[in-house]
């Protein structure tokens, strides 16, 4: 106890002085965005492309446009290894950086998101958990500081079910079919279960939930059960090594791969490549297109990679999760841009960016301006709806790349939104929040 005081004192002197000194010469025309990344550890294969997409888009904005409306973006990466305690450390370290503090924080882990939700409102930093995190927080009336647009796990699950139904030939055709949900045995993996259970009741399909414990290298028993059930469809909410093993097991067990759909964290190149040819036909949900056939990618090559400022390997541009990071960065930037329409073209605080996010309206036209027409779907966020209830695409692995094999599939909003509102009350109350009146916000 005694030495610790000494040690921490000495370390404090060494460390606090460091970051402080580094932060001092920041220019006033800059905004700071903390990046919680995981480029190492068991989840690095997913973390690396996301982080690269993020960084590349910001670099592009700075290089091509000189920032957002003349305000340069700065950022600092902090390695979390997908661990909550490191996430907290990173957040605390970075939340006050830059002349106006952190503009928006992307936790990139459901666990870390849960830690940051209570803190963000106190620190006045919006939490942007794009397509993950606490689904209940999509109800902006209870969670003003948390955003999950363009879509959520629950919406995704409903959209995937809708897709299966479409493939079977209509919404009523799922009745009597057997669907298996293989999920990572964690709150993240279990997110889709209630929605699926509700839908199973409503649509009459037979749902089996099979949990796979972290990390999921050995799934023999799970796939034995799959083989016994012999389902019509498999939906998977996997993560990390579990995905690769599952895809491989499915292939080797001779399951119809095109009836195996992963959620958007189970459908990256890294999940299918180790399975080799066996993965051909495997499908995945997404809310943006894969590949590099968009103007924004051309710009990325031109302004970023050709200048040698790329965050990663050029070949990896366009991977599913790379594009995920790109979309995430783009949405963040657009939210900032939106906020500038109200607060002026200057560095903004987190509180101001929050307004921008809540009033984000990404139209088809704006998407075209951004060079991402067809890459993602238009989004409108409101005070009540922090999700935007975005539609979902299904992509399929052809052995070399992902291709989109569906139209935009709308989630079942009637089912999902009601569940979200119920959950929001529950989660909001837990944190001692009160519901705000959106009518008064305008």
């Amino acid at each position: 106890m005694t030495l610790k005081t000494l040690m921490s004192g000495a370390l404090a002197a060494a460390l606090v002085a460091g970051p402080m000194a580094a932060a001092a010469p920041a220019q006033p025309k800059e905004m700071f965005i903390p990046l919680l990344v995981y480029r190492t550890g068991p989840y690095a294969p997913s973390g690396i492309p996301i982080a690269n997409g993020f960084v590349d888009y910001f670099t592009l904005l700075n290089e091509r446009d000189g920032g957002i409306n003349g305000v340069k973006l700065t950022w600092e990466e902090c390695e979390t290894q997908y661990k909550t305690d490191l996430g907290i450390e990173c957040y605390e370290k970075l939340k006050g950086k830059g002349p106006t503090g952190a503009a928006v924080v992307n936790p990139y882990s459901t666990g870390i998101t849960y830690q940051l939700i209570p803190k963000a409102s106190v620190d006045k930093v919006p939490v942007f958990s794009m397509g993950y995190g606490m689904t209940a927080a999509a109800d902006g009336r209870w969670f003003p500081w948390v955003f999950s647009f363009p879509t959520t796990y629950w919406s995704q699950a409903s959209a995937v079910i809708r897709y299966m139904a479409q493939q079977e030939g209509g919404m009523d055709k799922l009745r009597g079919k057997k669907i298996v949900h293989i999920f990572h045995n964690s709150p993240y993996g279990k997110e889709a279960n209630p929605t699926l259970e509700t839908l199973a009741r409503q649509m009459g399909f037979e749902l089996t939930l099979l949990a796979v414990d972290h990390p999921g290298q050995e799934q023999g028993a799970t796939w034995l059960q799959v083989r016994r059930i012999n389902p019509d469809w498999i939906f998977m909410s996997g993560w990390g090594v579990m995905n690769q093993v599952a895809v491989k097991e499915a292939a080797s067990k001779g399951f119809k791969m095109d009836h195996f759909i992963g959620n958007w964290w189970s459908a990256n190149e890294s999940d299918v490549v180790p399975a080799g040819d066996g993965a051909k036909g495997y499908k995945g949900a997404t809310f943006h297109a894969p590949g590099t056939n968009f103007k924004v990618h051309a710009d990325l090559f031109k302004f970023v990679y050709d200048k040698g400022k790329g965050g990663g390997n050029k070949d990896a541009v366009g991977e599913a999760l790379y594009n995920r990071g790109l979309v995430n960065a783009m949405l963040s930037a657009e939210a900032i841009r939106t906020a500038m329409t109200k607060y002026g073209n200057k560095p903004l605080t987190g509180e101001q960016v929050r307004w921008g996010m809540e009033n984000l309206n990404l139209t088809e036209q704006r998407l075209e301006q951004l060079g991402v027409k067809g890459f993602t779907h238009p989004i409108k966020v409101t005070c009540e709806d922090h999700e935007g209830n975005g539609p979902v695409l299904i992509q399929q692995w052809d052995g070399k790349k992902w291709t989109i094999v569906s139209d935009w599939i709308s989630p079942m909003r009637d089912v999902v939104r009601a569940k979200i509102e119920t959950a929001a009350v529950e989660e909001g109350k837990k944190l001692g929040y009160a519901m705000r009146d959106c009518a008064k916000e305008k």
Binding site: A211, E218, A221, L224, Q225, V245, P274, G276
Partner: protein, 312 residues
Amino acid sequence: MTELLYGIAVAPFKDMAGSPAFFAEVLIGGVFAGLMYSLVALGFVLIFKASGVFNFAQGAMVLFAALTLVGLIERGVPVALALVLTTAVMVALAWVIERVVLRPLVNQEHIILFMATIGLTFFLEGFGEMVWGANVKKLDIGIPDRSFIVAGIQINQLELSAAVTSAVLVAVLAVFFQRTRIGRALRAVADDHEAALSIGIPLKTIWMIVWSVAGIVAIVAGIMWGAKSGVQFSLSLIALKSLPVLILGGFTSVPGAIVGGLIIGVGEKMGEVYWGPLVGGAIENWFAYVLALAFLLFRPQGLFGEKIIERV
């Protein structure tokens, strides 16, 4: 209550009898999975036997071996040459470990050496990732990965080859231990360090050899597991899966590692498939440990472990 009892004591067996082909498949799946565990456990046993070190870094060594192999192949080295080079790397690693870690810590308590191997784990994980990158890599050295069906039982080629490899490896190790001079020396060391020294066996050399052999076992385990899941950081975590195998088989027994693996593999598959649904599944992880624990209560030194004799 009766329902629960029925669920535990009757239904699963009815189930098994009802679908014997599937039951056989479960059994075979368990055997294959068990042998995969044994592959990792073997590395532990070798080292524990000769040096009394509970080598937590075995998982990291598997990762490191697989990363090295894949990394070399990715850089265009032919598979055979890559295998040779990887073996050389693992032997070099064994040499370094003996020099830098084991020798300064000789005669320390077990837990200290255990802790040192944890430090080694950190080091190898960081080093492996730094050199070869954190991305998942596909390991393809030509092992087929398709299933075929024999008498209604689906068998996976990869698992079959893993099983065969495990069996071959065990046979080779058994011969190595029984028939070669070094093998006999190893057994002498395992029995009594000082006795071994007194008959002129250099302990340091023995340790180096053992760690090298463990490194080679790690390559094999790395190939098998890497073929299954791709080569990536998570390989390091399979060490945990092999722990129940170890306790069951005993830390010092090579056959124990195999038999333990089979029991755990079959046990956990049966548990998960037939009893798992009762409690909602995903019981594989703890079930293996509880199974091992139950065994231990009757044989505290493991199935094949040497009886601990305490002199008063």
